[in-house]
Amino acid sequence: TKAQGSVYIEQGQTKIVAAVYGPKEVLKREDFSLKGKVMCEFKYMPFSRANTYSEPRQTFEEKVISKTIAEAMEGVIILSKFPKSEVLISIQMIQDDGGTLSLAMTAASVALIDAKIEVRDLVIGCTIRFYNGGRILVDPTAEEEHTKTSEGAGFHLAVMPSLSQVTALKQAGKIEQAQARECIEACWEGCLRIATAVKKLLEETLGEQPG
């Protein structure tokens, strides 16, 4: 592959490929800045979802996800190390079976490490589905995610495990304030468990500890 860093990640039936190109020189003169820029392009493959056909152009939803991931990565990459340059993260969703945003975050972060771009820490994402009545389902499948929003909420959280910081958070559906705390804690735990597995893999393949 021609990318500086790439990763293929599977969580259950959800499959994602992420590639990182950069740091590349920014050609437009007006984009000069002392810090690097992060661009992210997230795309659902046309065959990735069960009931919808994804168009070749980026839809509104995909642009939103791209932006969330770009902003999350901006907080993690040490941008001052490459001024006047940009990093392009390209994420393709090959199969969607739930937990897309979180897995995409994890994929982007591992790809960045594979590309040897300096980051403060890993970013691990975890999704939970919260049901009215207090039941929490960690890492839901697409079927479990698409219950009606009036009956619960979906919660995506991306964290930096060693530094204990939240890089991204998204909640849709109704929850009460007290339940928010439970959701965040459940997500956090999920993230830490995934983190240990990812760190082990990185040690084996790259032979170095991140951060």
């Binding site: 009036s150 910081q165 958070l169």
Partner: protein
């Protein structure tokens, strides 16, 4: 510098001053971290719309217009109506918004506002259905930013709720069935019905500035912030949505504090807003 700022430049000393102020709960204009500036709200100002509102907060001014049209129902959701929220940054607000300059910000705003109304807990789209499987009302909500002075999302959401509150839709009489079905949209300006906005959320955005956080920042404060959280707060204290945005990471304890403050402030604003909207309604009997 987040995308919201329209180019404020600050010296390091100013940044330090603002950050210290927020951390000590005493900001540059004397407010505490949880205080909003005075909100001005006017409704029913655009006669060609079904509902409208103008909201001004500090230097930010927003116009919201709601227009309704009868459309075919969405194949995937034949029993509900549609709500389309779009944001537009007028070139009047800043020279950066001329042409395509405001596209990123507009997408951001449209997305956050639409996400606020993402669940059926917020607005009953079923009420907008005219004939199940055939026709429904589509509400086009257009948010126009006339002036941008920080805290765009919150102001827009307040104006949105106010506009939806006074949105009137004509009564539709459906007669006949199948091919002979006829829909008669009433011409009578007094034969209308209003949406139930009792669960509509407003967006409270909390910006992380240094080691503390604040609501309703001025433009200068936005330029000093790293990361912010949008919380969609409903009148009863539930959260309809939550999103962290902006470059910058947030500590989990800070996050939980932000949630608590956001909900508290949101409930208070809802109370005040509902009080004013009810008062206005009683002044002008339709």
């Amino acid at each position: 510098v987040s995308t919201q700022s329209t180019g404020t430049r600050l010296s390091n000393a100013e940044i330090q001053y603002i950050v210290d102020g927020v951390e000590q709960d005493f900001r540059s204009d004397g407010r505490g971290a949880e205080d909003y500036r005075q909100i001005e709200l006017e409704t029913r100002i655009l006669p060609n719309t079904n509902g409208s509102a103008r909201c001004k907060l500090g230097k930010t001014e927003v116009l919201v217009g709601v227009k309704a049209e009868v459309v075919d129902v969405d194949v995937h959701a034949p029993h509900i109506g549609k709500l389309v929220i779009t944001a537009d940054c007028s070139a009047v607000a800043s020279p950066k918004f001329v042409g395509k300059g405001s596209e990123v910000l507009e997408n951001d705003l449209s997305n956050v506002l639409s996400f606020l109304y993402n669940s059926t807990n917020t607005i009953r789209l079923k009420d907008l259905c005219i004939v199940k499987g055939e026709s429904c009302w589509q509400l086009h909500v257009d948010v126009l930013f006339v002036q941008c002075g920080g805290n765009l999302f919150d102001v827009a959401s307040i104006a949105l709720k106010a506009a939806l509150y006074n949105t009137t839709l004509p009564v539709v009489k459906v007669s006949g069935e199948g091919i002979e079905m006829e829909m008669e949209v009433s011409d009578d300006p007094y034969h209308v019905w209003k949406l139930d906005v009792s669960n509509c959320p407003i967006c409270i955005t909390l910006y992380q500035i240094g080691g503390g956080f604040a609501v309703d920042p001025s433009e200068e404060e936005v330029a000093c912030s790293e990361g912010f959280v949008h919380i969609g707060v409903q009148p009863n204290g539930d959260m309809s949505s939550m999103e962290k945005a902006g470059a910058g990471n947030i500590d989990p304890t800070t996050l939980l504090e932000m949630v608590e403050v956001g909900v508290r402030v949101g409930e208070e604003i809802h109370k005040q807003l509902n009080k004013q909207l009810d008062a206005e309604k009683s002044l002008a009997k339709l």
